[in-house]
Amino acid sequence: MTRLLKFMMERKSLLLFLFLEFFAFTLILRSNLYLNYKHNHFVTEVSGRYNNRVHNITRYFELNQVNRKLQEENSRIKNKKINKINDSIDFLTWKNFSVIPAVIITNQFQFSNNHIIINKGSKDSIQPGMGITGTKGIIGTVVKVSPHYAAVLSILNNKTSISVKPKNSNHFGFLKWEGRSPKILTVEDIPLDAKINISDTLVTSGNSNIFPKGIPIGIITDIKKLKGSKNYSLKIRPVEDLTDLNIAYILNNKYQKEYLQLKDSINEN
């Protein structure tokens, strides 16, 4: 016993190092399970409050940019109203959704798993699983919620897998991010039967019920047919500049709970 204590005293620095590393790695492993642990609310709320204060100071320098984006969006909405009759099918999927506007407080894009914090939380009826769009296209899904803030899993995240399709066809594939550049996303699993060209637009397929059908995602910049594969591998440029986000819209599917219950009951059978 004395020898053990002596050994521990001689190597207390190493033991402390191993203990702290063990603790840190436990946190990393737990956070990889989509950060579903107890201090979830606490972490989101604390970082949200701090970042909100900093954002309140920095936002004055960005007002011109925000105004320009809102003007662009206004004109796009006006154009969409005119073309509404042509978009009647997309309109049917949109009617299940309500839209909640929010301000983006922080936007990460330096990591391979990036998060966004918005200034709306559970008190504004925000729940994990809701989709988020910017002024032009999708930007992520809500993963954590505190009373006043929400953490969003950005599409610049290597866990991203969103169902997408070419605007003029119904063959769908999955949106991914390889972590290399915020200007390049990839799309896998679109079958070779689909007729696609460079500069075509990809939109949400509406399959997941998180996003309605037809929200723009990106423009095709490269098309590859992989040897031995029956699918395309596409590189796309996102329509939304994911390094420069100010405004977000949270999409609340009013019937999402009902949809998930139905899906679960099918799986059980």
Partner: protein
């Protein structure tokens, strides 16, 4: 340098700037200097246990605000624990094992090597733990070198303008 009020002031300031850089400054989304670790790098090589605990707390603090689990805590503790190894290129083994080495007294060239290696490995391990992908990390090595150089410029600037002036 010892762990005193000046150390905590510098640490608080650099952690604040680090968070600001990660969350609010843009620089094309690629260039992120790592400066929060500097106050630990200039501590003398004694008082190791207290340094490890402070490194862990600083790391956890960054993890909370950057939503990175425990990545910063793990890497900061690791780098502080092994930082003696970054003196291998310029210190003899006997000298390296001395308890009271003060990094602030290194020559300019030795400081560049010591800070440079520490920052490069901090960036490398942060990215490795964050992505869990060697291919991703190898692809990003040129960017890590640029970020290391950017961090070095800022750190040498702080070192010469503030720290050396106070010590001198």
């Amino acid at each position: 340098m010892k762990i005193n009020f000046r150390f905590f002031l510098l640490l608080f300031l650099l952690v604040f700037i680090q968070l600001l850089w990660y969350n609010h400054l843009k620089l094309y989304g690629r260039f992120v200097p790592i400066i929060y670790i500097y106050p630990f790098l200039i501590l003398s090589f004694s008082q190791n246990n207290l340094q490890l605990i402070l490194a862990f707390i600083t790391g956890i603090f960054l993890d909370i605000f950057l939503h990175t689990g425990g990545i910063f805590a793990a890497v900061t503790v690791f780098i502080i624990y092994i930082r003696r190894l970054f003196t291998i290129p310029f210190l003899h083994q006997n000298r390296r094992n001395e308890e009271q080495i003060n990094p602030l007294l290194f020559s300019f060239n030795n400081k560049i090597i010591y800070y440079g290696l520490a920052i490069f490995f901090t960036i490398l391990f942060l990215n490795l733990l964050e992505s869990f992908s060697f291919s991703y990390v190898f692809y990003k090595v040129p960017l890590f070198i640029i970020n290391t150089l950017l961090s070095l410029i800022i750190i040498i600037f702080i070192d010469y303008l503030f720290i050396n002036k106070i010590n001198g």
